[in-house]
């Protein structure tokens, strides 16, 4: 069972929901937000083992190259240029292997180029995985795919990247349920609609958590009602929560807030029709 937590945009409380939920039900947690991973700040896993993530990039053997420029033509990402030899712009390369496949003289081999790392550690017996993209590296995709490939069918909470681009699609592939975290503001609603569109497009059943709720009746809850979308929980607008967050503390350490996450868990269980 894979449950993804996403938000359309950052800062809505995605990491708060996913870390607290994962700890409460004691299941595997994965931080897929490899551009800005923060889940470990709250879960503080120990015994961390780290492994590098690389992508294969082409290496041209000049003795074999006949300067046919077929590799330059095939590269869809403009990563190769030809001056008097073939030059690679590493950061544009997606590691797809098209250039190597197209080369008639087999002048192209591949070398691994590191772009980030994956860390695995434990909070109690709870497994925590996270990836980190090296700063100034553009491509988060391969790290997310690698993280996804490391899990089995044990229940897993995936903390996704903000936004709705390809980096959110990758963790969402194959998940069973999605929790969309939103704020009851106009911005929040705008971003929520984008997230809803994405999970609908991918045919993933979902529910919404409204964070920083100060008024029961607001445009977000009205939208959810009109659209017949299930609200699986709410978290109040509370300065104390912001303070706990700023210190890197889990909210479930406080009984008052623990109840909120117990409710969210029950509602998700009801929605998916099995216990977590």
């Amino acid at each position: 069972m894979q449950i993804a937590v996403l938000s359309g945009k950052g800062g809505t409380g995605k990491t708060t929901v996913s870390t607290n939920l994962a700890k409460l039900i004691n299941v595997r947690y994965i931080d897929c937000d490899v551009e800005e991973p923060n889940g470990f700040i709250f879960l503080k896993p120990e015994g961390i083992k780290s492994q590098e993530v690389s992508i294969p990039v082409p290496y041209v053997d000049e003795d074999k190259c006949t300067h046919c420029k077929k590799c330059i033509d095939i590269c869809q990402f403009n990563a190769l240029v030809h001056t008097n030899k073939v030059i690679l712009f590493e950061k544009l390369c997606h590691g797809c292997g098209a250039c190597r496949a197209v080369c008639p003289t087999m002048a192209i081999t591949e070398k691994d180029r590191p772009i980030g790392k994956i860390e695995v550690g434990y909070n109690g017996d709870m497994e925590c995985l996270g990836g980190t993209l090296n700063v100034t590296e553009p491509m988060a995709g391969p790290i997310i795919s690698k993280l996804k490939s490391m899990i089995d069918d044990k229940t897993t909470i995936l903390d996704c990247s903000p936004g709705s681009s390809c980096n959110v699609v990758k963790p969402l592939l194959g998940v069973d349920y999605a929790v969309l975290v939103t704020e009851p503001t106009e911005f929040g609603l705008h971003d929520l609609k984008i997230a809803v569109e994405l999970v609908r497009k991918m045919d993933i059943p979902f529910g919404v958590v409204i964070n920083r709720l100060s008024q029961e009746d607001n445009t977000t809850s009205r939208y959810l009602k009109d659209e017949n979308i299930n609200i699986v929980g709410t978290i109040p607008f509370d300065r104390n929560i912001a303070v706990m967050y700023s210190k890197g503390e889990l909210l479930i350490n406080d009984d008052k807030y623990k109840k909120l996450f117990t409710d969210i868990t029950h509602n998700i269980e009801e929605a998916i029709g099995c216990s977590l």
């Binding site: 800062g11 800005e36 100034t136 106009e186 911005f187 700023s246």
Partner: protein
């Protein structure tokens, strides 16, 4: 002069500051580089005067009549995007490797619309923005286009205000590169500090003048002190500390920049920060 406002992560108050700056800098040309979920136009209002579909990606297309299900493409594809002659569009990176190995020439690459680029005429001037189709590939290229479109409405000497993208990936690299100054909005939390350090490395990498302001500084004065020390150590100009102010929530709901609320303590500080920014221009 191009100033980009970035934050490492969303939710740190970047749009609050960006919308205020947009309002205060009447003659600037604005770009919303957050193409995943652009918000600036919601506050600034105005009218869309131009909108164009953006062909940002390619996707493999299999001609069923030619395909013999030999699976050469399946073996080749590193993204697991093609199975039994059917392309999973969400997985396809558009790399065209499959076209190379297909013995029957059954695969072609087709352009895909990944969003729209939009020019909005707001009461405070031109805003260049985009709306990406959900789940699309290549937001970095789209950001580059948003910035290019803005240049059509001004000269090199004009002031460009860019609302940057969260994160440190391709979209951020595209919104930061070539700017003269970057204002980083930092939130005083453990994760905020973490995000700030990462995004600072991006700014340093591109050799852009870094400026820092702390938002909701009074939420955690300990971390605020850490950020202040960190900036001092690194010789980075810390140009403001915005207090927690519940009027900000109100301003977001009323879709107005916080600086129009005269009694807002956050608004006052942002006005001061704007003045300081101007002294660098």
């Amino acid at each position: 002069m191009q100033l980009v406002i970035i934050s490492g992560k969303g939710g740190t108050g970047k749009t609050t500051v960006a919308a205020s700056f947009a309002y205060l800098s009447e003659n600037s040309i604005k770009c919303d580089c957050d193409v995943d979920a652009s918000n600036l136009h919601i506050v600034l209002g105005g009218e869309d005067i131009k909108s164009e579909p953006y062909l940002g990606a390619k996707v493999a297309h299999v001609d069923k009549d030619k395909c013999t299900l030999c699976r050469a493409c399946e073996d080749m594809c590193r993204y697991d995007a093609i199975k039994d002659g059917v392309v999973a569009e969400l997985k396809c990176e558009g790399c065209a490797a499959c076209t190379v190995v297909c013995p029957n020439n059954a695969i072609t690459m087709e352009d895909e619309v990944t969003g729209d680029t939009i020019i909005t005429k707001s009461s405070t001037g031109i805003l260049s923005r985009a709306q990406m189709i959900v789940g699309a590939e290549g937001s970095g290229k789209l950001v580059t286009d948003v910035r290019k479109n803005a240049l059509d409405y001004g000269t090199k000497d004009d002031f460009y205000l860019l609302d940057g993208t969260p994160g440190v990936g391709c979209a951020v690299l595209a919104s930061v590169t070539g700017c003269d100054m970057a204002l980083m909005i930092v939130e005083p939390s453990q994760s905020g500090l973490n995000d700030f350090k990462r995004v600072l490395s991006v700014v340093e990498y591109f050799e852009i003048k870094p400026l820092v302001c702390i938002n909701k500084y009074d939420i955690n004065e300990d971390v605020t002190a850490d950020i202040v020390d960190f900036c001092k150590d690194k010789n980075i100009d810390l140009i403001g500390k915005i207090p927690f102010d519940s009027t900000v929530e109100k301003s977001i709901n009323e879709l107005k920049p916080i600086v129009v609320y005269d009694d807002s303590i956050a608004g006052k500080e942002i006005k001061k920060i704007w003045k300081t920014v101007n002294s660098y221009l």
